[in-house]
C-alpha cells in the first residue's frame, strides 16, 4: 500500500514536470525562415490568442533600463535610452530601419561644395509637447549643447558652430568635411530640445527629470527598475499616433519576457535571441521579425607588446575560423557573414577590390608551422553570458583543431571594458555598434586605445590616416581609402570580422508596424492594433 502510494506520488510529480516543460504546440517549425534576409515574419499566425478590439496601448518588455532622457546632457546616454529618446524627440533627419536618411524636422538641406557648410530648412508649425513652437534657436541650442557634451565629439564630428539665419533656416559650419555628418544629425544626440523649457526647468537636471521634445510621445513617468510610461502627443506634426499609451516595462529575466508575451502580459519584447524567435514560429499569437543591426561582431587579434603574436600566427587564426559554423550556432544561420569590419548598409561600404580570407584549416596549420608559436596559451576575451561567449567557445574549438592552445576568458562587462581599454588581451570578441551607419565607424577600435601608448598595431597610424581621408570625401571618392584600409587589416590579420549583428523584435500577432530597426529603436508611432 505504502509503496503504491509513493509510486503514484512520484509519477504525478514527474507528469506535472514533463507537461510543464513541454511546448504549447506539438510541432515546432523546422529550419530557418529566410536566413540572411532583412525582414522575416513567422508564417503561421492563425489568429489565435490576444484580440486587439479597442486596444490603444502597448507594453514593451525590455531588460535594459533607459535612465537618461536627454542625450545632450553631461551624463551622456546609452543605447537603452534610445527607447525613450527616439519617441520623445525628433531629429532634423530620420534614420529609417534600413539605414536610409529621410527628412524629419528639416524639410530639406544643402551641403556646400567644399563640404564645410550644411544649410537646414526647418519645417514650420512643429510644436513641443508644451505647445510652444520649435524655432531655429532651439536647433542651435541643441547642437551647441550636444557638441560640448561627452558624445559630441563622436556624433557631431567636426561641427564647429551653428548659426541661425532666420526663423526656419540654420547653418552648421564644420571645421573639416565629414561625409557621415548627416548620420550624426539623425542620431539620438540630434533630438531637438527646447531652449525656453531648458531654462524654465533649471537646466540639465530639470530636463532629465521631465524631458520634452517634439516627438510623437510625451514623457509621463519613469519608475526606477519598473517602467516608463509615454503618452501620445495629440499635436504631433505628423498627426497623433494610433497607440495612445506606450509602457516600457523593465523585465530582467528573458524567460519571463517570453512567457509574458505568450500570456499577453506584454505586447512586444525587445531583441530576443534568434533561438527564442524561432521557437515563436510554433506559437499562434506571436510574430517576430529581424533586421541587420549597425553593429559588427569581430574577433580582434592583438599584435603589440606583451601580446606580440606574429603575423603567421595571426594568419593561422584567420584561416582556422569557420564563420558559417559560428553563425549557425549563435544565430541559427540568420546573420550576414562579414568579410570586412563594416556592415553592408554603411555609407562608404566598398563592394569591389576587397581581399578576403577563406576558411582553410590546412593553410592555418601551414601558417602555424611557420610562426614562432610554441603552444603558449592563447586567450580570447569575451563578455560572459552573451552570444559572443558561445562564439568564442566555437572559435576555441576551431583553433584547437589546428593546434592552437586556445582558452576563453569570459568576464563581466566592466572587466572586459577595462581590459579592452588597456588592450590587455590576446584576442577579443566584441560588438562594435555604429550610430553613424558609416564606414568611418570602423576607426573607433583603433582610436579606442587610450591606456598604454606602446600597445599599438604596427600600421595603426597609417590606417587612421586612411580612415581620415575617406571621411572627408563624398560619394565614391571615399571608396579607395576604405578598400586599402580593409585590405591592410586583412593582410596584417589585425582582426577577423565574423558577422553582422541582428536586431529582433517579437510581438503580439495583432500588433502591426512593430518592425526591428537597425539601431534597436522602437518607434511606437508606427505601431497599431489590427482592427
Amino acid at each position: 500500500m505504502k509503496k503504491k502510494f509513493l509510486a503514484a506520488l512520484l509519477a504525478t510529480a514527474m507528469l506535472l514536470g514533463v507537461s510543464a516543460c513541454g511546448p504549447k504546440d506539438p510541432a515546432p517549425s523546422a529550419g530557418a525562415n529566410n536566413p540572411g534576409g532583412t525582414q522575416s515574419t513567422a508564417p503561421n499566425n492563425q489568429g489565435g490568442g490576444t484580440t486587439a478590439q479597442g486596444k490603444d496601448s502597448v507594453v514593451l518588455a525590455t531588460s535594459g533600463e533607459p535612465i537618461r532622457f536627454m542625450a545632450q546632457s553631461s551624463q551622456s546616454c546609452s543605447g537603452d535610452d534610445n527607447l525613450v529618446l527616439s519617441n520623445v524627440y525628433d531629429c532634423l533627419l530620420f534614420l529609417e530601419p534600413n539605414g536610409e536618411l529621410t527628412p524629419a524636422l528639416a524639410e530639406s538641406y544643402e551641403v556646400s561644395e567644399d563640404g564645410l557648410t550644411y544649410t537646414w530648412h526647418l519645417r514650420k508649425g512643429v510644436k513641443f509637447h508644451d505647445g510652444s513652437e520649435m524655432t531655429a534657436e532651439d536647433v542651435k541650442f541643441t547642437f551647441d549643447l550636444g557638441a560640448a557634451g561627452p558624445i559630441g565629439a563622436a556624433l557631431f564630428i567636426n561641427l564647429e558652430s551653428t548659426e541661425v539665419v532666420d526663423d526656419s533656416t540654420v547653418v552648421m559650419h564644420l571645421s573639416a568635411p565629414y561625409a557621415a555628418f548627416p548620420y550624426g544629425v539623425a542620431s539620438r544626440l540630434g533630438g531637438i530640445i527646447s531652449k525656453a523649457y531648458f531654462d524654465k526647468v533649471g537646466g540639465e537636471d530639470g530636463y532629465l527629470a521631465a524631458p520634452m521634445g517634439t516627438g510623437p510621445y510625451k514623457f509621463v513617468e519613469a519608475v526606477s527598475g519598473s517602467h516608463i510610461t509615454l503618452e501620445a502627443f495629440e499635436d504631433y506634426w505628423r498627426g497623433p499616433a494610433p497607440i495612445k499609451t506606450a509602457t516600457i516595462q523593465i523585465v530582467s529575466d528573458t524567460n519571463t519576457q517570453v512567457l509574458g508575451l505568450q500570456n499577453g502580459d506584454y505586447d512586444a519584447i525587445r531583441n530576443p535571441s534568434i533561438e527564442v524567435c524561432t521557437r515563436f514560429d510554433s506559437v499562434d499569437n506571436v510574430d517576430w521579425n529581424y533586421t541587420d543591426s549597425t553593429g559588427r561582431i569581430t574577433l580582434y587579434l592583438a599584435a603589440w607588446g606583451g601580446h606580440d603574436w606574429d603575423l603567421n600566427f595571426r594568419k593561422a587564426v584567420q584561416c582556422a575560423i569557420n564563420k558559417d559554423d559560428i553563425n549557425t550556432a549563435t544565430n541559427s544561420g540568420y546573420a550576414t557573414i562579414l568579410d570586412i569590419d563594416m556592415c553592408p548598409m554603411y555609407g562608404g561600404y566598398p563592394t569591389e577590390g576587397i581581399e578576403t580570407v577563406k576558411y582553410d584549416p590546412d593553410q592555418a596549420k601551414a601558417y602555424l608551422a611557420q610562426s614562432s608559436y610554441n603552444n603558449e596559451p592563447y586567450s580570447i576575451l569575451v563578455q560572459s553570458g552573451t552570444t559572443y561567449e558561445a562564439a568564442a567557445k566555437i572559435i576555441q574549438a576551431q583553433l584547437m583543431a589546428v593546434g592552437i592552445n586556445c582558452q576563453v576568458n569570459a568576464v563581466d562587462g566592466q572587466t572586459k571594458t577595462s581590459l579592452q581599454t588597456n588592450r590587455d588581451f590576446d584576442a577579443l570578441i566584441g560588438e562594435n555598434l555604429s550610430s553613424l551607419v558609416d564606414a568611418d565607424g570602423v576607426k573607433s577600435f583603433f582610436l579606442f586605445n587610450r591606456g598604454d601608448p606602446t600597445r599599438l598595431y604596427q600600421r595603426e597610424e597609417e590606417l587612421c590616416d586612411m580612415f581620415a581621408q575617406g571621411a572627408i570625401l563624398q560619394g565614391d571618392a571615399r571608396l579607395p581609402y576604405y578598400v586599402d584600409a580593409c585590405n591592410i587589416i586583412t593582410q596584417e590579420a589585425y582582426m577577423v570580422p565574423l558577422y553582422n549583428g541582428i536586431i529582433t523584435v517579437a510581438h503580439n500577432a495583432a500588433l502591426q508596424g512593430a518592425d526591428a530597426h537597425c539601431l534597436g529603436n522602437f518607434n511606437f508611432y508606427y505601431w497599431s492594433w489590427a482592427k
Binding site: 500500500m1 505504502k2 502510494f5 509513493l6 506520488l9 510529480a13 506535472l16 514536470g17 507537461s19 510543464a20 516543460c21 504549447k24 533600463e65 535612465i67 537618461r68 551624463q75 551622456s76 546609452s78 561627452p150 558624445i151 565629439a153 563622436a154 556624433l155 519608475v223 526606477s224 527598475g225 519598473s226 516595462q249 523593465i250 523585465v251 530582467s252 529575466d253 524567460n255 519571463t256 512567457l259 509574458g260 505568450q262 500570456n263 502580459d265 563581466d412 562587462g413 566592466q414 572587466t415 571594458t417 577595462s418 581590459l419 581599454t421 573607433s444 582610436l447 579606442f448 587610450r450
Partner: protein, 309 residues
C-alpha cells in the same frame, strides 16, 4: 527590563558587524576593474571628461580615504546617489523595500502556516503514509531550485491555464506565485524542522507524565509539546525571513518584482558602488533586527532562556 538592556546591547553589536561587512565589501568593489566612467560616457568621451567624472565619483582617492568619506556620509544618513542613474540610494531602497517585505512576509506565512502543521502532524503520525508523504514533499521542494520551479509554475498557471499574470507588481494577483516560490524552500525546512523538533519533545518525560496523568492527547500536544517544539522552528523562521529579505533575487527576477534583490543584483552587475553599499547596510540592519526579535520571542516562549545572562 532585562530585555531592553539585551536589545540595546545587541543593537550596539550591529555596529562592528556593519563596519566589518562594509569594509570588506568596499575593498572588494574598489579593487575590481571599473570602467564605469567610460561605459557611462561612451567610448568616444574625451580623457578629460572621463577624468572629471571619475573625480566626481571619488575614484582617484586611496580606497581607505574613500571608505572613510563614505562611512562619514552614512553617519549623516547620506548614502550618496547611484552612479548609474543618479537617484538617491535611500529613496531607491525605500521605494523597493515594500515589495520585498510583502513577498518575504507572505512567503514566511505560507511556509509556517502550511509547514508547521504538516510537520507536527507528521511527527504525531510517525511512519504513517501521511508522514512519508509530507517528508517526500519536503524533500521535493527542498531539491527544486527557485528558478526552475518558478518557470514551471509560470508555464502551468499563467501560460497554460491563464489564471495568473506571468510577472509584474501592479495587481494583487501578481503576488500569489512569488511568495509560494520563495516560500517553497522554507516550507520544506519548516516541515522537517517542526517534525524533528516535535519528535524530540514528545519523547520527553514531561509529556509521558502529562499522558499518565490522564490529559487528553490534543491537550498534551497543544499545551505541552507544541510550545516547546516551536523554539527551534521560530529560530528557523527568523533565519528564513532574513534570507528572504536579501535573497529574493531569483524570485524577484523571474516574476519581475521591483524589489531589493533586483536592486542589489543590478547594482553588483554594473558596479554601482553606492547602491551596493547602501543596500547591504540596510539588509544587514534588517537581518540583525529580525534576529534580535526572534531571540526576544524565544525568551518569551521559553522562560528558561535568561536574556540577562
Amino acid at each position: 527590563m532585562s530585555w531592553i538592556k539585551y536589545a540595546l546591547k545587541r543593537l550596539l553589536m550591529l555596529i562592528p558587524v556593519i563596519l566589518c561587512v562594509t569594509l570588506i565589501l568596499y575593498t572588494i568593489l574598489s579593487l575590481a576593474p571599473n570602467g564605469l566612467a567610460r561605459q557611462k560616457l561612451g567610448q568616444d568621451a574625451s580623457e578629460e571628461q572621463i577624468y572629471a567624472l571619475e573625480e566626481e565619483m571619488g575614484l582617484h582617492d586611496p580606497i581607505i580615504v574613500r571608505y572613510v568619506k563614505y562611512m562619514a556620509g552614512v553617519c549623516r544618513l547620506d548614502f550618496g546617489v547611484s552612479w548609474i542613474n543618479s537617484n538617491n540610494v535611500l529613496n531607491e531602497f525605500a521605494h523597493r523595500l515594500p515589495y520585498t517585505l510583502l513577498i518575504a512576509v507572505l512567503s514566511v506565512l505560507f511556509a509556517v502556516g502550511v509547514g508547521v502543521p504538516l510537520g507536527i502532524f507528521s511527527a504525531i503520525k510517525q511512519y504513517s503514509l501521511f508522514d512519508y508523504g509530507s517528508t517526500f514533499v519536503a524533500m521535493l521542494l527542498f531539491s527544486m531550485p527557485a528558478f526552475w520551479l518558478g518557470t514551471m509554475c509560470q508555464l502551468l498557471f499563467c501560460v497554460t491555464l491563464g489564471l495568473l499574470p506571468v510577472a509584474g507588481d501592479k495587481t494583487w494577483t501578481c503576488f500569489i506565485l512569488p511568495p509560494l516560490i520563495l516560500g517553497a524552500n522554507t516550507l520544506a525546512s519548516m516541515i522537517r524542522m517542526s517534525r524533528t523538533s516535535m519528535l524530540d519533545v514528545i519523547k520527553q518525560d514531561y509529556i509521558r507524565t502529562a499522558r499518565s496523568k490522564g490529559a487528553a492527547e490534543g491537550a498534551v500536544i497543544l499545551r505541552h509539546a507544541m510550545r516547546n517544539s516551536l523554539i527551534p522552528v521560530i529560530t528557523q523562521v527568523g533565519i528564513c525571513f532574513a534570507g528572504a529579505i536579501g535573497g529574493a533575487v531569483v524570485t524577484e527576477s523571474i516574476f519581475g518584482i521591483n524589489g531589493v534583490g533586483m536592486l542589489l543584483i543590478n547594482a553588483v552587475k554594473s558596479r554601482d558602488v553606492p547602491i551596493v553599499m547602501g543596500t547591504v547596510i540596510f539588509v544587514t540592519i534588517i537581518v540583525g533586527v529580525i534576529n534580535l526579535i526572534v531571540d526576544l520571542i524565544c525568551a518569551v516562549i521559553d522562560p528558561r532562556i535568561d536574556l540577562a545572562s
